[in-house]
């Protein structure tokens, strides 16, 4: 299927995501009540740009690919303090849990080349409390030393209270790390993975790593207890990443996000809108994004979910699809 066909499908998808949005409303909020977000806090959803670039390995040319991706989505990082938020939830040498350190280092270089005044890599591991171990054992420490980039443990950073502008949970307020709130630009940089409770984990779910474990625990069970899908929307709406870069060179299928199987997709997904990025990335994983309740709900106010209003650059999304295996419970979410 070429891009024209993809865009033709987008029309149907646009309708579908609207319907799924209604389904999401039933799932995540209660009918007859005001919309569960503050309309004055979120700008109208405009056209989004998403770029898909092929990358078969982590070894060669990544910096140039990232530079191309940033250019295609019109990323403006000039003179900005950029916080790069990868996914390092824990470490297992036998699988592909984390955003690859080589890609993170290449992105640091690309952002500097694009004019960023400062690039900080930051994560608050969701499962392992010992962030020093995860950073060292995953290879991130060595990769960041090679490019002279700092790392901030968001589980131990200074925190400030923030009132939520959406109400998909009863959380009301959240603690956010200073490194996140002080950054001019936040880039969510997840691994392309299935998730055994939420279907997929991409740039929106990756925002859980911004929530300090010393408040929310390891795992960040208080967020799950509040209602996982609603918490994904509320936390992403609080963090509000400016851009997203999804590491799908090697992703994870099956029983993700920890115990799944590595799968080579050979793709990086860049976006100037995390919702749009996740919609396209989920499609590339073989999901019907409209059936992912938290994603369709986020598309109602946080970002663009209508593929007719997502400009795709680079590779043809339909040619980049790798049908990620899923647990039986998520088979209904597949396209």
């Amino acid at each position: 299927m070429d891009r024209r066909a993809f865009l033709a499908r987008s029309a149907g998808f646009g309708v579908a995501i609207g319907a799924a949005g209604l389904a999401g409303t039933r799932l995540l909020s209660q009918s007859g009540r005001p919309e569960p977000w503050n309309p004055s806090a979120f700008r109208p959803r405009g056209t989004a740009r998403v770029a898909l670039l092929g990358a078969r390995t982590y070894d060669d040319g990544l910096e140039q690919i990232v530079r191309d991706g940033l250019r295609l989505i019109g990323a403006n990082v000039g003179r900005a303090r950029v916080l790069l938020k990868p996914n390092l939830v824990e470490f297992d040498a036998g699988t592909s849990i984390n955003t690859d350190p080589r890609l993170i280092a290449a992105t640091v270089l690309a952002l500097r080349r694009a004019g960023a005044s400062e690039v900080v890599v930051a994560e608050g591991s969701g499962h392992r409390r010992d962030m020093q171990y995860v950073v060292a054992r995953s290879g991130l420490l060595e990769a960041l030393q090679a490019v002279d980039a700092p790392f901030v443990d968001l589980n131990a950073d200074g925190i400030g209270a923030h009132r939520l502008q959406s109400r998909y949970t009863e959380l009301g307020q959240v603690w956010l790390p200073r490194a996140v709130t002080d950054a001019d630009i936040v880039i969510s940089m997840p691994k392309m993975k299935t998730h055994h409770w939420a279907g997929v984990t991409l740039s929106l779910k990756n925002c859980f790593g911004c929530m300090p474990g010393r408040v929310y625990g390891w795992p960040k069970n208080a967020l799950h207890w509040a209602g996982l899908e609603g918490a994904i929307v509320d936390v992403a709406a609080a963090v509000r990443p400016d851009y997203a870069i999804v590491d799908g060179i090697v992703g994870m299928e099956g029983n993700g996000p920890i115990s799944g199987t590595p799968v080579t997709s050979g793709v990086l997904v860049f976006g100037d809108d995390p919702v749009a990025t996740d919609v396209v990335a989920a499609r590339v994983m073989g999901f019907d994004p409209a059936k992912i309740a938290y994603l369709s709900e986020a598309a109602r106010f946080l970002g663009q979910g209508d593929l007719e209003r997502i400009v795709t650059e680079g590779e043809d999304p339909e040619r980049m699809i790798t049908d990620y295996a899923v647990l039986d419970r998520f088979l209904p979410l597949k396209a």
């Binding site: 297992d92 499962h127 392992r128 409390r129 010992d130 020093q132 171990y133 995860v134 060292a136 054992r137 443990d153 131990a156 950073d157 200074g158 209270a161 939520l164 949970t169 009863e170 959380l171 009301g172 307020q173 959240v174 603690w175 055994h196 010393r214 408040v215 929310y216 625990g217 390891w218 795992p219 069970n221 208080a222 207890w225 509040a226 029983n255 920890i258 115990s259 647990l327």
Partner: protein
């Protein structure tokens, strides 16, 4: 038990540098004081630094006796057991122990996706949520050290026995999720073993065997190594000395990255404060 009479000066000195002008300790030296790092430092340090930290803690005891961080609907009271261990005998400590006994985790009922004994609860990170390994281990430790007749101890022991992984260690929570066996981690295995001193050998011995493997695999992590050293020393394990040397080498190399919790655990693990975590047999 026999222990060294002093912690290595560099560890305690590094930790002392994290003390704020209010007497408390933040997660890092440049951050406002919080209950957990302050309680750990109060345990780890000698007077007068410890006294100022205890004063900070006592002033932050909440009406229900707990210590923690609260915002919106989330209340993290998991520092309470560490605070109880750090406080001198008296009303504040008694109230903290009362809170630990009353604030158990929520039971979730049987769930085949995360099989566990639904009769067990343990302790949670945040109030009225599920029980996890580290908060359960520390609550169990505080009760067994300070209130050994507590009726809540049986549930803590049963919870950790139920959550033990097939490899003998402890993951952060359940040992099996959706049919997949999860591995033990050094830090959470140590957290469990701190509370399991002198407990059923059928649980403890596989746990120690796992920890002997895990601390070597995870020696790059300061918190893992510090808590593993504490647990191995308290269990009189032959690996304890080697782990302690590795910990001191790591601390000398990178200062445990300035993380107060890791530094405090390292000072506890290698110094006389460990005596305060001994469960009487």
């Amino acid at each position: 038990m026999e222990m060294d009479t002093s912690a290595p000066t560099d560890l305690t000195e590094n930790l002392r540098k994290h003390q704020g002008t209010d007497g408390g300790f933040g997660p890092r030296a440049d951050l406002p004081s919080e209950p957990e790092p302050t309680a750990l430092a109060a345990l780890a340090l000698p007077s007068p630094a410890a006294g100022a930290a205890v004063t900070w803690l006592v002033a932050r005891a909440r009406p229900d006796g707990s210590f923690g961080l609260s915002l919106g609907s989330v209340d993290n009271d998991s520092a309470t057991p560490i605070a109880a261990l750090a406080l001198p005998a008296g009303l504040a400590r008694d109230r903290a122990l009362d809170h630990i006994e009353s604030a158990k985790a929520e039971a979730t009922g049987e769930d085949p996706s995360v099989p566990h004994d639904a009769r067990t609860k343990g302790w949670s990170w945040t109030r009225a949520t599920f029980g996890w390994t580290e908060p359960t281990g520390r609550a169990l430790l505080a009760l067994r050290v300070l209130r050994p007749d507590s009726a809540a101890i049986a549930d803590g022991l049963a919870t950790l026995a139920d959550r033990q992984c097939a490899d003998g260690g402890w993951n952060y929570g359940n040992p099996v999720v959706l049919g997949t066996e999860l591995p033990g981690f050094a830090q959470t295995t140590a957290a469990a073993l701190l509370g399991l001193q002198g407990a059923d050998a059928a649980i403890v011995e596989p746990g120690l065997a796992a920890l002997r493997r895990l601390w070597r695999e995870e020696h790059q992590g300061g918190l893992s190594l510090a808590m593993a050293t504490a647990a191995l020393r308290l269990h009189h394990d032959p690996d304890a000395r080697e782990a302690e040397v590795a910990l001191q080498q790591l601390a000398a190399t990178d200062g445990l990255l300035g993380d107060t919790v890791s530094l405090a655990w390292a000072a506890i693990a290698t110094g006389p404060a460990l005596e305060r975590l001994v469960v009487s047999r």
